[in-house]
């Protein structure tokens, strides 16, 4: 799929010198030609980066003009100086665009506990401003400018037609969840659209979409200090009727889900992407609790790395998830094959199933409690020798 900036947006990605490799952009700028609605969903970590503190004061808003992103340094655990640096980034972009500081959102990802090289960043902002453009390549460079240990940029698009026949495009870029040399996994995403949304409405819709997608993604269970998802909506395509708002929510979900899935699929050293469907629960919270516990079990993840349909590890993870749902009707399937039901193992072709797990990158696990209508789809990865090797490399 060819991804394009929605009309009204420009973007750029440049190398300003935070990363050593001059081939890798480390600063991205996304600009809306006019003031737009902006919503943000941020990390729930009580330790959070300076940019998160800055953005929280601003979103939701209907006056945002730009998002500036740097990669290679998270500006987290950097105290008052870090806050001043985040503000200075916003001010520098505002100076370039002729707007106010409060109209600029800031994202930083990378190593934590180190101060930003502000001289480089200032030059990078000026350079990015010069290079702004609306082409596919501009979009791609901005997406590349967010990356840290990612092996590829992440882009996703969707579009829908309003009841009045107006075309509404959405386009998102994201990074993560790679380890930041050497500190933590972070996910960032910026979704742009021409839809017309009030700030609170945008905030509520983004919250719902993030809740169903990015918050259903766990690679290592370690919540970053810098996670952020932003939605920018210019309003150019005019007001949305109620039916249009449903369509927008669905399109936003689609973009966020594609980005979340790409993030998991680019997890460090992974050999399997795991799609975990937890179904038949009395409520969604229960389904999510079970999904998160199974997804984060080191034993489940190592079994998947080995292509082992090890129902014992999955069922026992369900058992300690702390979810208050009866287990007596639980059915567990891997890749569509029932392997555990009604309290005991099923008869199945273990060798054949193992073979399919080894050959396919995607592993589908389905847990059906048959106790209700609530369900959740969760994404995770296997845990490989390469992941551990990568993350225990000595870097101090």
């Amino acid at each position: 799929m060819e991804h394009q900036l929605p009309p009204g947006f420009e973007a750029a990605g440049v190398h300003c010198g935070i990363k050593r490799n001059p081939q890798k952009p480390d600063l991205a700028l996304v600009v809306s030609r006019r003031e737009c609605t902006a919503a943000g969903v941020y990390t729930q970590n009580r330790v959070f980066g300076a940019p998160i503190a800055w953005n929280r004061q601003i979103t939701p808003s209907n006056q945002v003009r730009a998002v500036v992103v740097n990669s290679g340094n998270a500006n987290a655990c950097t105290g008052q100086r870090g806050l001043r640096d985040a503000e200075a980034m916003a001010q520098a972009v505002a100076d370039q665009l002729g707007c106010r500081q409060q109209q600029v959102l800031v994202l930083s990802t990378g190593i934590i506990g180190q101060y930003l090289p502000m001289d480089k960043i200032m030059r990078g902002i000026a350079q990015a401003r010069e290079q702004l453009g609306a082409s596919q390549d501009h979009l791609l460079q901005a997406a590349r400018g967010m990356l840290t240990t990612d092996t590829r940029p992440k882009l996703a698009s969707a579009r829908f037609s309003t009841t009045r026949g107006q075309d509404v495009p959405l386009c998102g870029i994201a990074k993560g969840a790679g380890m930041i040399a050497p500190n933590m996994a972070t996910m960032l995403a910026v979704v742009m659209t021409t839809a017309q949304l009030a700030p609170e409405q945008a905030q509520q819709m983004l919250h719902q979409a993030a809740d169903e997608t990015f918050n259903c993604l766990s690679i290592d269970g370690h919540t970053s200090t810098s996670d952020a998802v932003l939605l920018l909506a210019t309003g150019e395509s005019g007001p949305l009727e109620q039916e249009d708002r449903h369509r927008f929510q669905a399109a936003l979900h689609q973009v966020c889900e594609q980005l979340a899935r790409q993030i998991a699929d680019d997890g460090e050293g992974i050999t399997h992407l795991v799609q975990l469907d937890v179904e038949g629960c009395p409520d969604r919270q229960t389904a999510r609790q079970v999904a998160k516990t199974v997804a984060e079990s080191v034993l489940v993840k190592t079994a998947i790395a080995g292509g082992d349909p090890n129902w014992g590890r999955i069922v026992s993870a369900v058992g300690y998830a702390g979810a208050d749902v009866p287990l007596d009707r639980l059915v567990l399937e891997i890749n569509g094959v029932p392997i555990y039901a009604q309290g005991g193992p099923c008869t199945f072709d273990a060798q054949g199933l193992a073979q399919s797990m080894k050959q396919q990158r995607l592993v589908r696990i389905r847990l059906d409690f048959q106790q209700g209508e609530a369900r959740v789809r969760f994404w995770t990865t296997d845990l490989t020798v390469e992941y551990v090797r990568f993350n225990s490399q000595y870097t101090t």
Copy 2:
């Protein structure tokens, strides 16, 4: 330290054929010559083995005569037939000893979802009965009979004198936390003593000791279906005054802590044992929540494997622990060296600290919130390439 069965106990460990290697005992029997007080603390997993269900009906009790343990098969997820098998094990021991079925506790550890080879177990029980004895070697064989992927038996002892000058010995044996081919980590422990305790009193004291030791131990965060800690107290050394009960509690804590530490130190593929002290919290629950979150962070554990004093991973794990304690006075030390304080990194000799982490098996992490008096000591391990390799071996 030389470990000995307390007077009044006999033990045996035999090979009955559950494990393939005839050099490895797979059935252990511990017998009290007279009826004794017995308490039990069991797994909190909602999926639990048949022996757990059996023991829960019995403890606390003042009439227990024996504990029979098999390794190599957990008798978990085995439905009604599994329950009948656990009862049959108790009955077989009762027949041998001339007591009632309800006087025999049962422990099983190993693969889950497979039925016990009852013919082998029956022969093993008869054989163990013949070989019962009170020597150090008998104790050691019983400790070996509990093991699965452990590389060595775990034994611990303590003793104290009562206010009347009576000597009270305690001795414990344990296994874990190794993966069971290929299903899960399980810990089992049996502590024997001559102290005189009422059943409810024994239960309460064991609960407290387990809470402070075995429940402060996490290797992979995966709660087994079969975890159990048993306390057997013959009463031979006579009643305990109030001061003696404090001494007994301290001695019981000491034995349980030694066993918990040995379990962590024998974790699969580990290269570092981590002692995590979380201090200065408003309450113990908060301290434990922080400790568990840090101890189970894959990123913290891989950093330790690499000898990397990576404070960013530790502080960010604190941040997502969900604990409601202010972070502004938090001090983090590794091996006695302050590396993070008052919201920012300290100046420290990173190379020197890394060198000490690489050279020593024990890593001491201390988190002091300076917000209260509550503290917890928690044990964990690093996460190595060898652990993942071991646990992703294809075994189905």
